[in-house]
């Protein structure tokens, strides 16, 4: 069997002013072809104005098993949220 084309992750900016957002992935031999294919696969209905392609193999991801150590520390820091503070209505909008 011939060598399989690498997998690319596709990010699309749907309109200026918004972030690029991950929409899916596809196989392509190189970055240029990945962009062309992404145009055909993910923007057939004007879903985008800009495309990023990133080789899936180049992405480093946090491990699901690290979810606790990584994100739990944020749990007990309620004081980071504005609703933690009771401000009397008399003060007006804040």
């Amino acid at each position: 069997m011939a060598r399989e084309w690498p997998l690319w992750e596709i990010f699309i900016r749907s309109q200026n002013g918004l972030n690029h957002r991950h929409v899916g992935s596809l196989h392509a031999p190189d970055a240029e072809t990945a962009i062309h294919n992404a145009r055909d696969v993910y923007t057939r209905r004007k879903e985008g104005v800009s495309i990023w392609v990133v080789r899936s193999a180049d992405i480093t991801a946090s491990r699901p098993s690290e979810k606790g150590p990584l994100f739990d520390p944020a749990e007990d820091k309620v004081y980071r949220h504005p609703t933690f503070y009771d401000i009397p209505d008399d003060v007006g909008h804040m």
């Binding site: 069997m1 084309w5 031999p29 072809t33 055909d40 699901p64």
Partner: protein, 329 residues
């Protein structure tokens, strides 16, 4: 459905882990690729998603048959866009399956060798232009019936693929119904073609939901895992309830003498398709099985030189870039 009769796989996992996993599903959590999942969940999903993907890909063939013979340039453009969408649906689903640890080439190999199944519906011929109407209206209609609830499936990548697909599917059904309207209100010969298309596609469309799974252990497991949301019979009933009035609007007759509104169940009573025929088609003995798979394999093999060319070009360009980088140092 597009994935008919998916056998679920048993899991030999730790009972505690299995229970915790089930609790996540029951809570409505979505499962994402690298997270722990039972082996059975992973294998069943690979089978189901790849079967669905194969159906989208093979499903292009019966309609591709009519692209060069569409009656107007606009109908041709519409059909081309529809068939291109189906290719996209196949790609979204293959990508979703790949997140579970199977490669694209492995899935192609399973399809091309005949080991993997695709929906029985695509093994029926498309004989006249009215069939393009019947396919969009009934086949895409039945697909929508199944895919809409699957948007809530527990596996994240599958759910996201379904959401994307459902957004595009509605145009498919409407363009098909639009063709049927034109034909049903056309000349007597055109009306007859429309009726004939409905006659031939009605029962194969009902088969798309698969045989009754009331007593199937497989579907109970799949439903517990939320990779199947409704029973086959539920979806088939919904499809009949929705489609019969649409046929009446066209002035066409559903080819079922037993079809009757049943006020008690607020739905139609209807005849079951010929399940022997269904199993024969699944086994490979439908009217077009050999032709469809043959066309698919030929397309893959005829495209090999092109795929290899692109790979060679990419390798060369990478070498050139690397060479330029060292020269600059």
């Amino acid at each position: 459905m597009y994935a008919q009769m998916v056998k679920s796989e048993a899991s030999n996992d730790d009972p505690g882990m299995l229970a915790a996993f089930q609790a996540r599903i029951d809570r409505g959590d979505k499962i994402e690729p690298k997270e722990w999942m039972p082996e059975g969940y992973r294998k069943t999903l690979i089978r189901q998603i790849s079967q669905h993907a194969h159906s989208e890909i093979v499903g292009q063939l019966p309609e591709g048959n009519w692209i060069t013979r569409a009656p107007t340039l606009q109908r041709k453009a519409i059909l081309l866009a529809k068939v291109q969408d189906e290719a996209g649906h196949g790609l979204y689903l293959y990508s979703a399956a790949e997140t579970l640890g199977i490669s694209r080439d492995e899935m192609f190999e399973q399809l091309h060798s005949g080991r993997a199944k695709y929906s029985s519906i695509f093994n029926y011929p498309t004989l006249t232009w009215a069939d393009m109407g019947a396919v969009g209206w009934l086949v895409d209609g039945a697909a929508i019936m199944n895919q809409v609830p699957l948007q809530r499936t527990s596996y994240g990548p599958y759910s996201r693929a379904m959401i994307r697909i459902c957004k595009e599917e509605s145009f498919h059904q409407r363009q098909g119904y639009h063709i049927m309207m034109k034909m049903a209100r056309g000349t007597e010969a055109q009306r007859e073609m429309a009726q004939d298309a409905l006659d031939r596609f009605w029962y194969p469309a009902l088969m798309m939901f698969g045989p009754s799974d009331k007593d199937s252990v497989h579907s109970q497991q799949s439903m517990a895992w939320k990779i199947k949301i409704n029973t086959n019979d539920e979806l088939r009933q919904r499809f009949v309830n929705e489609t019969v009035p649409q046929a009446e609007f066209l002035g066409l007759t559903v080819p079922d003498p037993e079809l009757r509104w049943n006020p008690d169940k607020e739905g139609y009573d209807f005849s079951q398709p010929d399940w022997d025929e269904f199993f024969e088609v699944l086994k490979g003995n439908g009217p077009c099985n050999r032709e469809r798979l043959g066309a698919r394999v030929r397309a893959w093999e005829d495209g090999a030189w092109f795929r290899e060319g692109l790979t060679a070009y990419a390798d060369k360009a990478a070498q050139r870039r690397a060479g330029a980088a060292t020269a600059a140092e």
